[in-house]
């Protein structure tokens, strides 16, 4: 069903857990299938210097989350905003068609995290 890369990311997920000193947290969830993801980012000079995740979901959801953290670590926020769910699935070497929707939360959580970070910055800038 899943290819080796997916299985590897599911079995040995990278960057699991919360980041106690995160600059922002992005959350997303599918009401329908119940999957939930939290993405923590640490930002320095507009660049993601650290990232971690927590995911409730199936194998595809967990592997996608893990893969996403690998993709975005070190990217600038603008670069990271360009990352799509499709990119994640591609980097994983593909997912079964029925499972594609399970990978949809990873990029969403990332974009939510970045949005939160920017909002915080704005507030801080104004304040």
């Amino acid at each position: 069903m899943y290819n080796e890369k997916v299985v590897d990311h599911f079995n040995n997920p990278r960057n699991v857990g919360d980041l106690p000193d995160a600059d922002a947290v992005g959350e997303t969830g599918s009401f329908k299938c119940g999957d939930t993801m939290k993405l923590y980012i640490k930002v320095k000079d507009e660049r993601i210097v650290d990232v971690s995740f927590q995911t409730y979901g199936c194998g595809a959801a967990i592997a996608s989350s893990s893969m996403l953290t690998e993709i975005v670590k070190g990217k600038t926020l603008d670069e990271a905003m360009q990352v799509t769910n499709q990119d994640v699935a591609e980097q994983l070497g593909g997912l079964p068609p029925l499972k594609l929707h399970c990978s949809n939360l990873a990029a969403d959580a990332l974009h939510n995290a970045i949005a939160e970070y920017r909002k915080k910055q704005e507030v801080a800038g104004k304040g």
Partner: protein
Amino acid sequence: MNSREVYMDHGATTPVREEVLEAMLPFFKEQYGNPSSVHSKGREVRNAVEEAREKTASALGASPGEIYFTSGGTESNNIVLRGAAKKHEGFGHIITSAIEHHAVLDVCRDLEKEGHRVTFLPVDKYGRLDPSTVEDAITPETFIISIMAANNEIGTLQPLEEIGAIAAKHNIIFHTDAVQVVGQLPVDLKKMQVDFLSLSAHKFNGPKGVGALYKRKGIKIDPLYRGGGQEGKLRPGTENVPGVIGLARALELSVEEIPHKINTLQSLRDKLIEGLLKIDEVVLNGHPEERLPGNVNVSFKYIEGEAILLSLDMEGIAASSGSACSSGSLDPSHVLSAIGLDHQTAHGSVRFSLGRGNSETDIDYVLEKVPAVVDRLRRISPIRRSG
């Protein structure tokens, strides 16, 4: 990959046992005639098919003329429900439960769309149907009551004798999908007063793609498929000869072994349940006593079923789940919803279904591996217990 292989998905399917395969083998290359043929190559096979029918009948306490071979449980169910609807004049009323297998539930939904009225009876939190709700649901238009003998996911047994008595009293056709029960528990057609009973060979160590339908003598339904008129016209098409031979042999053996098997399986089952419930935040789904001897279904909170299955699979353990993601659908199983589980508890359900070949050592192995799997996934999960 891993040292042990522990198959605990007997509710999904079972391996064909040696004696069954042996019984089937001559019918591929040697006794290959068409049972409808006049010549001796055909007649020898006709005799074998009729012997298989006799064996099947006698294992069920029926007479041979009441047994129809089909391509599986799904077909048996469809033949009964659609056939009864076709036979019924105009639109009528069907009573079934909310936790039937899709091969009953979705046929009923289809018939509903076509104009029949259907009552999907609710079940309690253990998945039990209250027989009085059956009686209350009966209308003058009710032409069939279809209630499964045991649920495939949570293993809950239904009070068939009570329901059968109600159906008989009101003179309504009574069908039971006994796919999960035949070969596991004794089946008494007389006591249950069923008119139709569906079974599928691959659930009791017989081959896939063959099943049977018991039809009480004298009860009439319309056939759906047309063709060469085999199986009393109810299921036309050249007979799956090795299949029906295998079905009969598997049924004979598994029914013989029931008295011995029940105790073994139940004690394995109870040991597994007990061990699993020792893990934090695990709940048992289904009825604590009125359940299939081999069925264990628990929900691991805060983690998702398919992820659990994959992790168990890495350890060589085969199980199943009512989680949406394990079936490729978006919703968790209708059964787990019907017993009132919230979305997340339903998503965390895992079924271990025990069967022939499972041992004490298997249980120990599973109980050794599960806690680590659950722990690992809970560490990944963002959901935390509130306590």
